[in-house]
Amino acid sequence: MVLTDLKIQESAYISKILLDNDMKRRLYDLGFFKGTRIECVLESPFKSPILYRVGGAFLALRRDMAERIEISYEE
C-alpha cells in the first residue's frame, strides 16, 4: 500500500520510502521515517498536492512523491 491509497482522515504508518537519497533525506528531516504515524488531511483543488499530518505538522506532498512512500496499517 502506498500513501496515496490512504483516504481522507485515515491514518497509517510509514513503512518504506522509495525515493532518491536527496529526497529521502528531505523527508526524514520533516519527520517522515519508518514507523511514523501519518494522516491524510485533504487534497488540493487539482488533487495534487495532498496534505498530510505528521506529528503536529501539516505537510503537503505532490502525488507522484506520495505514491513512492509505502505504508501499512500496523506499526
Binding site: R25, D29, L30, P45, L51, A57, F58
Partner: protein, 666 residues
C-alpha cells in the same frame, strides 16, 4: 564588558524572528509562513552587564541544507564562530524540533533550548515537562511565548550563564561508532566536535575545505573504506529515534483532535469548488479596499501640496529668486515629488497592512498549496506563487523571496517572471489609466468596484503570462522536470492588528516611499532641465521623444511614453509624472492633480483608448526597476540572467502592444 555572540536557529516559522525582536527590540519582519526570513540579520542588546550580539537566521529543518535559505543558516551554524546557540523549538511539534536540537548539540556544546509557542501548545492542551527535558539534554531549556514576551528574562539569564563543555551523544550503530573512533583518533586539536567531523568526513569532501587540518594521512587512508560502509540513513535514523524517544518522555497530549478548527478552515480554503474563487475574491477585495479608500486621502494630499505650492511660489517671488530657479524647483522637483507622494502614499498605506494581515493569518502558503498543480504542469514550483504575492508589494522583495524554492532551475523561473506581477509602484499608473480611459470618471462606489475588477483582470493576465513564460522557458533554455516539492502549512494565527498596521506603515510604506522620493526628486530636476535647456535650437525632451516617436507609434504608443518608461527605470512610480512633465513642457503648464485635466492633456497629445490599453500593457510587461535588476544580478550572480530579466518582459510588452494595435486598426 563581557560580550557574547548568540545565534538563533530553528525550524521555519517557529518564531525565531519574533524571539529576536523581543530580545533586541528591533523590527525584523515576521510572518506566519515558513521561509519569511531568507537572510541573516543581527542586532545588539545588553543583559546584566553582558553585551550580546544576536543573529537571526533563516529557518532550517536540518543542518543538511536543501534550499538556499537553509544553506545560509546551516553554514552559519556549522562554521561561524559564536558563543551560544539558541535553538528555538515549536512546542506543538516538539519531536521535529528536537531533531534539530540534537543535530546542533552534536556540533556545539553551548546550546540553550527555547521551547517557543507555549501559549499555542497550552491552547491545544499539550503539556511539556521542561524540567525533565532539561535533565535529559543537559542544557538549559526555557519555555517562552515570544509574541507576548513571556519567558524572555529566563532566556536571557540562560544565555549569559550557559557554560556547557560536553556534546550530547547518543549511540550510532556499531560499525559507525568504530569508524568514528578510528577517524577521530588522529585529529589534531580542533574547535569542533571530533565525532561530528568524523561523520562529515565519511559523508563527503566538503568538510575538508572548511576544516583542512583534519585531512591527515591516516584519515585519507581510511577514507575509502569508511565511505563505503557509511549509510546516511543510519545516522538520521538514530537521531530521529532519539528525538522520538525524548519527546515521548516529555510531551503529553490531553486532547486527541486538537487541530479541528484549522482543518475546518482548510477544507473551505482548499476546496475544489471554493478554494480558487475565494483566493480571487481576496485579491479583488484587497484591490478594491486599496482603490476605494485611497481616493479621498489622495486628493486631500494633492490639495494640501497645491496650497503649499502657491505659498512657496509667493515666497520665492518675495525673495526675488530668479524665475528660472523657481520654476526648476517648484514645477520640476516639487511637483514630481508631491505627485509621487500623494499618489503612492494612500494606496500603500492601505495595501501593505492588508497584505501583512493575510500573511499573519497564514493564507499565503494555502495559495501555494492550491496553485502547485498548474505550476507543476509548467515544470515550475508552487512556491513561485508566494514570490508572486510578494512581488505585488515589491518585485525586488519577490526576487529575494525566491530563495525558498529548492531547485535552482525553478528559482530562476520564479525570478525571471516576477515582474509580471505589477508592484505597488505600478498600481497607481494602471489605476489612473483605467479610471480615465476605461471606466470614465467616478469616485463612486461602483466606479471603484469596476476599477478593482479591471485591475484584477490585469493581474490575472500577468499570472497567465507567468504560467505561459514559465512553461516556454522550461521547454527551451531552462529545460528540466519539476523537482520535488514539500510545503508546510502553518496553523492559522490571529494577527496582531495594531502592530501589523504600525509595522507595515513604518517598515514598508515609508521605506518604499522614501526610495521613490529619492528617485523622484533628481528625476524631476533632470526632466525639467531636459525640457527647458535649449540644445540645437530645441530641447532634449523633444529631441529624444522625436527620436523614439516612430517606433512608439509603430507599437501604438508614442515617443514620450517610451521615454517616460526609460527614465522611470530607477523607480516605476515616476513614469506618470515624467510623462506629464514631458507633455506639459511641450505645451502650456497646467496642473496635473486632476484626472480630468490629465486626460485632457493626454488626449490633446493624441491619446486614444488604444494608447491607454497599450500603456497599461507596457506598464504590466516591461523591464523591472533598477533595484530589482540589481537584486536579480546579486541572487543569480550573473549579468546574463539580469539581462534576460530585463529584455524578456520588455519584448513581450512591446509585442503585445503591437498586436493590439494591429487588431484595433483593422
Amino acid at each position: 564588558m563581557k560580550s557574547k555572540k548568540v545565534a538563533l536557529i530553528g525550524n521555519p516559522n517557529v518564531g525565531k524572528s519574533t524571539v529576536f525582536n523581543a530580545l533586541t527590540g528591533l523590527h525584523q519582519h515576521t510572518g506566519n509562513w515558513p521561509g519569511k526570513t531568507v537572510e541573516n540579520a543581527f542586532g545588539e542588546c545588553e543583559w546584566k552587564g553582558v553585551s550580546l550580539t544576536i543573529y537571526d537566521l533563516p529557518g532550517t529543518y536540518s543542518l543538511i541544507h536543501h534550499s538556499l535559505e537553509e544553506k545560509v543558516a546551516s553554514d552559519f551554524i556549522c562554521f561561524e564562530e559564536y558563543d551560544v546557540a539558541i535553538v528555538v523549538c515549536d512546542a506543538v511539534c516538539l519531536e521535529r524540533s528536537l531533531n534539530l536540537v540534537l543535530q546542533t548539540m552534536e556540533i556545539l556544546s553551548n546550546v540553550v533550548v527555547c521551547v517557543n509557542l507555549m501559549d499555542e501548545a497550552k491552547k491545544k492542551e499539550i503539556s511539556i515537562d521542561l524540567c525533565e527535558l532539561e535533565k535529559i539534554l543537559g542544557v538549559p531549556v526555557i519555555g517562552t511565548s515570544a509574541r507576548s514576551r513571556e519567558g524572555l528574562d529566563e532566556l536571557f539569564n540562560a544565555v549569559i550563564q550557559v557554560a556547557n563543555d560536553s556534546y550530547y551523544s547518543f549511540s550510532y550503530p556499531k560499525y559507525l561508532e568504530d569508524c568514528i573512533s578510528i577517524l577521530s583518533s588522529d585529529f589534531p586539536k580542533i574547535r569542533y566536535n571530533p565525532r561530528w567531523i568524523a561523520l562529515q568526513i565519511m559523508k563527503g569532501d566538503e568538510i575538508f575545505q572548511k576544516v583542512p587540518e583534519v585531512k591527515t594521512e591516516k584519515v585519507e587512508r581510511f577514507l575509502k573504506f569508511s565511505r563505503k560502509v557509511y549509510k546516511e540513513e543510519d545516522i538520521v535514523g538514530a537521531i530521529l529515534m532519539e528525538s522520538r524517544r525524548i519527546s515521548s518522555l516529555v510531551v503529553t497530549f490531553h486532547k486527541q483532535n486538537y487541530n479541528e478548527t484549522m482543518k475546518k478552515w482548510d477544507r473551505i480554503l482548499t476546496n475544489k469548488l471554493t478554494g480558487i474563487p475565494i483566493m480571487l475574491c481576496m485579491l479583488f477585495g484587497i484591490l478594491w479596499l486599496t482603490i476605494h479608500f485611497s481616493n479621498i486621502p489622495s486628493s486631500f494630499l494633492f490639495d494640501c501640496f497645491h496650497f503649499f505650492e502657491l505659498k512657496l511660489f509667493d515666497l520665492f517671488h518675495f525673495l526675488a529668486i530668479p524665475s528660472f530657479l523657481t520654476d526648476l524647483l517648484l514645477s520640476g522637483v516639487y511637483r514630481t515629488v508631491t505627485w509621487v507622494v500623494s499618489v503612492m502614499l494612500p494606496p500603500m498605506a492601505i495595501f501593505f497592512p492588508l497584505f501583512t494581515l493575510l500573511e499573519d493569518l497564514g493564507i499565503l502558503p494555502r495559495i501555494a498549496f492550491n496553485l502547485d498543480y498548474p505550476f507543476m504542469k509548467c515544470h515550475a514550483c508552487g512556491k513561485q506563487s508566494l514570490t508572486m504575492c510578494m512581488g505585488l508589494g515589491c518585485n525586488a522583495v519577490g526576487v529575494l523571496g525566491a530563495r525558498i524554492i529548492d531547485s535552482k532551475r525553478e528559482r530562476i523561473l520564479a525570478i525571471l517572471t516576477n515582474s509580471f506581477m505589477p508592484c505597488n509602484g505600478r498600481f497607481p499608473a494602471i489605476i489612473s489609466m483605467i479610471t480615465m480611459f476605461v471606466i470614465g470618471f467616478s469616485n463612486s462606489f461602483l466606479g471603484s468596484i469596476m476599477s478593482a475588477f479591471t485591475l484584477t483582470m490585469i493581474i490575472l493576465l500577468g499570472i497567465l503570462m507567468t504560467f505561459l513564460v514559465s512553461y516556454l522557458l522550461s521547454k527551451t533554455i531552462l529545460k528540466g522536470y519539476p523537482s520535488s516539492f514539500t510545503l508546510e502549512l502553518p496553523p492559522y494565527r490571529k494577527p496582531q492588528i495594531g502592530s501589523v498596521i504600525v509595522r507595515s506603515i513604518f517598515d514598508r510604506t515609508l521605506f518604499v516611499l522614501g526610495r521613490a522620493i529619492s528617485v523622484a526628486a533628481p528625476a524631476g530636476l533632470i526632466i525639467y532641465l531636459f525640457a527647458n535647456v535649449p540644445v540645437f535650437g530645441s530641447n532634449m525632451i523633444t529631441i529624444l521623444s522625436n527620436f523614439l516617436n516612430p517606433f512608439g507609434l509603430f507599437v501604438g504608443l508614442d515617443g514620450m511614453i517610451l521615454l517616460a518608461f526609460l527614465l522611470g527605470f530607477p523607480a516605476n512610480e515616476i513614469v506618470i509624472p515624467i510623462l506629464m512633465l514631458g507633455y506639459l513642457s511641450l505645451g502650456s503648464m497646467t496642473e496635473m492633480n486632476d484626472l480630468v485635466v490629465m486626460k485632457d492633456v493626454l488626449v490633446s497629445h493624441g491619446w486614444t483608448f488604444l494608447t491607454a490599453i497599450n500603456f497599461i500593457l507596457l506598464c504590466l510587461f516591461h523591464f523591472p526597476c533598477s533595484t530589482t535588476i540589481l537584486t536579480i544580478k546579486k541572487e543569480l550572480r550573473s549579468w546574463k540572467w539580469a539581462a534576460l530579466a530585463f529584455w524578456l518582459p520588455t519584448i513581450i510588452g512591446l509585442f503585445l502592444c503591437f498586436l493590439t494595435t494591429i487588431i484595433f486598426r483593422f
